[in-house]
Amino acid sequence: MTITEVGRSRLRKEDAHLITGRSRYTDNITLPGMLHLAMVRSPFAHAKITSIDASAAKSSPGVVAVLTGADVAAEQGSLPNAWPITPDQKAPAHPAIAVDAVAFAGEVVACIIARSAAAARDAVELVDVSYEELPVVLDLEEALKDEVLAHPDLGTNKSATWIFDSGEAGTGKPISEALNGAEVLIERTFYQQRLIPAFMEPRSTLVDPTGEQITVWSATQIPHILRLMLALTLGIPESKVRVIAPDVGGGFGGKLQVTPEEAITVLAARHTGKPCKYTETRSESLMAAHHGRAQVQKVKLAATKDGIVTGLDVHLLADMGAYLGLVTSGVPILGAFMYNSIYKFPAYRFECTNLFTNKAWTDAYRGAGRPEATFAIERLMDELAVELGMDPLELREKNWIKHEEFPFTTVAGLEYDSGNYEAATAKALELFGYDELRAEQVRRREANDPVQLGIGISTFTEMCGLAPSRVLGALSYAAGGWEHAQVRVLPTGNIEVVTGSSAHGQGHETAWSQLVADRLGVPFENVEVLHGDTQTSQRGLDTYGSRSLTVGGMAVLAAADKVIEKAKVVAAHMMEASEEDIEFTDGKFSVKGTDQSTALGEIAFAVFSAHNLPDGFEPNLDSNATFDPQNFSFPHGTHLAAMEVDTETGQVTIRKYVCVDDVGVVVNPLIVEGQVHGGLAQGIAQALYEEAVHDDAGTLVTGSFVDYLVPSAPDLPHFTTARTETPSTTNQLGAKGVGEAGTIASTPAIVNGVLDAVRHLGVKDIKMPCTPSRVWAALEEAKTTGGVQ
């Protein structure tokens, strides 16, 4: 096989329709007789619903029907949580339309069905809902006290407590050994603020109930999981549901959900017998689509005086919000295995308490658990370096796994197959100009420059390629982690690749074409990739957790290999040779030691016509494969940020950002770089700009893009990106995954850099996002407290 495609910066096949306005996002689709939905949402974060009078809404012009929770109570079921992390996990019932009570502001209490979107929205105002307000619990520390309950009927705000202990697991020493009598103990509390995924395309669902099957178009990352879950939740035979994810405008975990709105649109279509469409407004999206992060991390790091880390103890409070969504409860667990990061300390304990509050529920957001873990350990390494007066990079190097030590079993029990932290760091330092910037930092400090310079470091790793099914089973996740693919050979020799990994901006059509073009020796242009429709792609587990290439891509390669094996039989027959003598290279089957050969395309037509095939040969080259990974993959990298802080205004500027990522073998460098850029933007946004803020009553204050500060172009710098390449040994391609790397690495790099700029002025910590007002306040506070610990 000649490799001509893998490693090549192919421009994307996906672009043509998107740059010309021929897009097919769900809200662009219109069906005959289609009705429009609008949701009536609770303005209160916690209340009993005492009555609903929808009569005025029902008689409003254009309104066809109004559905309340009571109307659909018998059929709406309870929305799914697929990750009961403990056998005794507590979870409230989660009706799509609230029936008796609401537990967060924005929860749906009724649905208007009308002939136009405008008529539906007009009628929202006319639904008279009487509420009896209940006290709200919003803060995690308060929730822990169980004085005010988010769901009084549960009797507690605690959903579950989950513990990993390296002493008990046999993966290391007990944490008590490290903490008792530690030469140095760093104790900190970090706040992972609540974030909103804020995909650009608002969620939209269109349901066509006509015919024998219900067809659901939805702006989702997970058409296959959605099909299964809608069937189970609403009691529809799975075979009667078809889900299509057409063009999907970003997800970042935010569309990894089975939403109330999707279920309601199905119910509305079933009630009216007509196609129904719901598209949320941006304010609804910010208020009611699931949020992310929202954790309090109480951490203790033990070390020797010469900087050898001996143990880490993590106590986590994780905000579930009001309900458990699809994987809400498991997000902290995904982080549990990553707190030790690239370091090889001997003792680790993690305890997480999942708590309910009266806010929108949280769930996966880019990185899901791993950014939080990486932030904590990378902040702690900087704190330890300060405590010991060591260079933060030198401290990290003292503790990280050396490249010759792989494979390495970590204190959290994972086997890291490969990595080279030295190489990535060396490259990053070179691109960054570390020594020069440190010298400038000294100069500015000495000169008392109002604009101070800081250097932020983050050396990270993550677990990607979710996930080995057995591991998921051991963690009580309800499903597996395999992926499916089909490679179809058309009579012309053109290839159709069907993937279960449904893309929403990642460029699978291009990358999968490259994979198959190499493997089958066919032109890139002759490969078509189909995805996102459960009728063409019957099996799949969709796109999240940087899994597409390392799991889905491997299924594609395995299916292509099966095509070659089948075609080989026909090739031998056509050329009157023995199968053992047939070789396949660059799209041609040849007979060893002769100049006889036949192309895959010729075999494709011979199989199609089926006139002269070997006895018993099934006339079909199409092949299926399902790949279940045996291990995760572990991308890593070194990110360096030069941060300028104006000590007079608190303004923070990113002067330089360098990242060197090792994501293993790369199929398309252009796409990989794009993923890194976008990931960086979201991680930086957590560090500097974004936070979902609620008032004391539990109302979202940052309810529009006026207040929820998604960064725009001038808010971000030019990134210098580079790669090192240590192939993964956990899949045949050597790929590791790149979707979340930038987000995971950049947040601690930025915050470490901000603190490094002002630490000498007495500032010890700044809560994220490090806004000018927070930075300024921290500087002022340091002045009044004398700035010394």
């Binding site: 421009l11 740059i19 010309t20 897009s23 996002y25 995909f199 460098p669 794009g674 850029h677 971000l716």
Partner: protein, 176 residues
């Protein structure tokens, strides 16, 4: 329904005359009445710019205008940008520089970029970033969008289907 008003608007070189509700937004008129779904809606506060079109050659956010305000005017959407089956240089540049991922911000981003280049044909990187401040993208981190606008301004847009067989140099160097 409130009383309707008759408007005549030229959109992508075709003249349309329609009765519209006074409260109908231009973007709703484009999408719902004319089927111009290439123009997208990403927010309801004029922050995201996904709905950006040109009104008489100047970029406007079509969610911030009523359709009746476009009466007698000329509107160009992303669907009218390509001419004679040939992509506009900015469209080609967005493709070539991998300036889009999910594509949702792309129509607005391209229309705003076009307006920016009309006003300032040779912008600096900072001028491009400032000029695109009203358009949000959640996928790209803007770097490749800035590069695309720069490429269109510099006239370095080609019609090749790959950047180059070996683009590692430009990858690792982080070109502007």
């Amino acid at each position: 329904m409130a009383s309707s008003k008759t408007i005549t608007v030229e959109v992508d070189d075709v003249s349309y005359t329609d009765d519209v509700e006074p409260r109908l937004l231009l973007v709703q008129y484009l999408r719902e009445r004319l089927g111009k779904t290439g123009t997208l809606i990403g927010c309801d506060t004029t922050n995201c710019g996904a709905c950006t079109v040109h009104l008489d050659g100047v970029s406007v956010k079509s969610c911030t205008m009523f359709a009746v305000q476009a009466d007698g005017h000329n509107v160009t959407t992303i669907e009218g940008l390509a001419r004679d089956g040939k992509l506009a240089p900015l469209q080609q540049a967005f493709h070539q520089c991998h300036a889009l991922q999910c594509g949702f911000c792309t129509p607005g981003m391209i229309m705003q970029s076009a307006s920016l280049l009309t006003e300032n044909p040779h912008p600096t990187e900072q001028e491009i970033r400032d000029g695109l401040e009203g358009n949000l993208c959640r996928c790209t981190g803007y770097q490749n969008i800035v590069a695309a606008v720069q490429a269109a301004a510099d006239g370095t847009v080609s019609s090749d289907s790959t950047v180059s067989a070996d683009s590692d140099e430009s990858e690792t160097a982080g070109v502007a």
